[in-house]
Symmetry: C2
Subunit: 367 residues, 2 copies
DNA sequence: CTGAAAGCGCTTACAG
DNA sequence: CTGAAAGCGCTTACAG
């Protein structure tokens, strides 16, 4: 029964709990207890276990085996829309991660950043292979294969920004009322001729003007909600929405904002105010306006969405809708953890936003 | 043999591979092959496997069980000195993570951020419990319990900035020559009266002047290497190192830099130039100098180390030693991956640094 | 305070 | 192209 040591050692494998138990002449469970339930055995025996472990080069119970037995990994998975390295270059994403990590850390959970996806080359399979207890899906379009893969995995999942489906916990802002606040600000200043730079409205990656039909039928709720917010505010002020040009961008980059603005600003009846669905787009709009020799905010008012750090330092500083990305991350993390703990935790209230008025908006020049 | 379905279903557990195999009347290995080796079975059978899986709500092989069997997790662990949320607030750390994540992603590996540690409350045990294939230890003092725990875990480990021990792969910059370059720059400008704001030199958290003995005997190689670099450069110019006041700070914060400078600048023979071991410390030095009514760089030259984003936007902009944090992360990630792959990969060369001359340094006023 | 047995859910040789 | 068996390394009831 003893003397395991004399057996032909197969290639000197890493020491195991069982091996330590044999060496010591106790049962594996005693060794397990030494690590996991100190109260279950005498301090002296526990000491002997650790000594033997040390001597055999046993570093403690293998976390993978423990995970299999216990059914959990101790990590939250974060799924990001793009390459991970982009997440660390995106100030909003970094703030969001800061929030998620603080929630995870409160519960002694790790954060696993899921690799391998870019919009061009989706590797949704990895979502099924990753060792986590649940997912936070951040900044991923609601019909994306990454979201599907996360939901199919059958683990608790919280979706951020883009609601995925009925019943899936969601964290985000009230896009409709936030967008309305942006439009109302411009109306108060006296603007009547608007243009909108929107996120994408379909999988087709279309770039150009979106008619009312396309606006209404889009499956992208964030895009739709923001358009609805703009429309509602303008409607209240008797600005007919059907006459407001909406330029759709297949993404949210400065370059796309630039393109959109080039088109919008060459319209026969040039808008005096442009509403952009993100600060990135808005900054591109400002680039285009400046390029065209327009002076901001005199010739054109611009409002963004997000309040990224670059918004405040833009020239002129960008008026925008601020959201608290870190708080969003914290809420997403906490909501996921509540699900993990078996709580039937409801999705929390939507996060509040705030209109931040800066130098990129003013009364229209011709009023 | 069949009809597993008719057996008393214990609480409707999650479906397993075995369950799918029973349902289909094939062996578990066939189901496993359907997921892992498509070529091993007919497309038709494979389809039937997936259909059955779908019907039973089986989401594919459990990654934990697979991990146990295969002996790997598919994730790299990143150990950070402080709370994770601080890492996402630290621009150098974020750039570093960006680099590590790009290396991980190249190999389809996830990044697990290890939770639960702050300098005040170390939870090194978590390092033994986390499901990863190896560790990158970032920004952790070489005698810290986190480093010990990572090494004891017995997984491949790469240490960054603070070399941990002989034989442990290491990524960092040449601290000695970088520090020397900083001092040489000041010497070239004509400075002869120096002061140094150093990192900590011991576990005791001491704050104050460090004598030669303490400088020489410190176990912190980074602190020592930088002091040696300063000393070597000054020695070459016949500035006696023994007369250069070295103020030791138990950390690297703006507040500590402030404190150090308050003391150094009230010395009877006031230095005309201060060398700081980090930009954070240097910014604190500048705060203190301004507070005291000194004008920079006329009354005092300051050189930092790191080139964090705040350095360029400081007033005046900070002269410093630039290091490429993202590249450092990428190298650390690649080095770890090479170890994982069984390569006996040597530690790569030290990363190069670059003196960036900005407005915080000038000829001494009284020369 | 300690043990013997079962089993977490899969994949890996070894056979055919 | 498919199977039966062994086993990855642990922890969890169940007993005593």
């Amino acid at each position: 029964m003893h003397g395991g040591e004399s057996k032909e050692p197969h290639r000197q494998r890493r020491a195991t709990l069982k091996r330590v138990a044999e060496e010591l002449g106790v049962s594996p469970m005693t060794v397990s207890n030494a690590y996991n339930r100190p109260g279950q055995l005498s301090p002296a025996l526990r000491e002997r276990v650790f000594e033997t472990a040390q001597r055999l080069g046993y570093a403690g119970p293998d976390p993978i085996a423990r995970g299999l037995r216990r059914g959990r990994t101790g990590a939250l998975g974060v799924i990001y829309d793009s390459r991970l390295s982009y997440a660390f270059a995106d100030t909003a994403a970094v703030a969001f991660m800061r929030g998620v990590s603080s929630a995870a850390e409160e519960e002694r959970l790790g954060l696993l950043l899921v690799p391998g996806s870019s919009p061009e080359q989706r590797d949704a399979a990895i979502v099924g292979e990753v060792l986590v207890d649940g997912f936070v899906v951040y900044s991923v379009a609601e019909d994306d294969s990454l979201v599907r893969a996360a939901l199919e995995r059958g683990l608790p999942t919280v979706v951020v920004d883009q609601p995925a489906a009925e019943g899936v916990p969601f964290v985000g802002v009230d896009d409709r009322s936030s967008a309305a606040a942006a439009a109302e600000h411009l109306l108060r200043l006296g603007h009547r001729r608007f243009g909108v730079v929107s996120f994408g409205l379909g999988r087709d990656g279309a770039k150009g003007f979106a008619d009312l039909e396309r606006q209404r039928t889009t499956l992208y709720r964030v895009s739709r909600a923001r358009l609805e917010g703009y429309a509602a505010a303008l409607g209240t002020a008797d600005v007919p929405w059907s006459e407001v040009p909406v330029f759709e961008c297949p993404g949210s980059s400065r370059a796309l904002g630039f393109e959109a603005a080039v088109t919008l600003l060459s319209l026969p009846s040039r808008p005096t105010a442009l509403l952009a669905a993100s600060d990135q787009l808005a900054l591109g709009v400002m680039d285009a306006a400046t390029d065209r020799g327009l002076s901001l905010p005199n010739d054109l008012s611009v409002v963004g969405f997000d309040d990224i750090p670059e918004a405040a330092s833009a020239d002129p500083p960008l008026t925008t809708i601020r959201q608290d990305h870190a708080e969003k991350g914290r809420m997403a993390g906490r909501l996921l953890i509540a699900r993990l703990r078996g709580g039937s935790a409801e999705s929390p209230e939507l996060l509040t936003t705030e209109l931040v008025v800066r130098g990129s908006t003013a009364r229209p020049h011709d009023v």
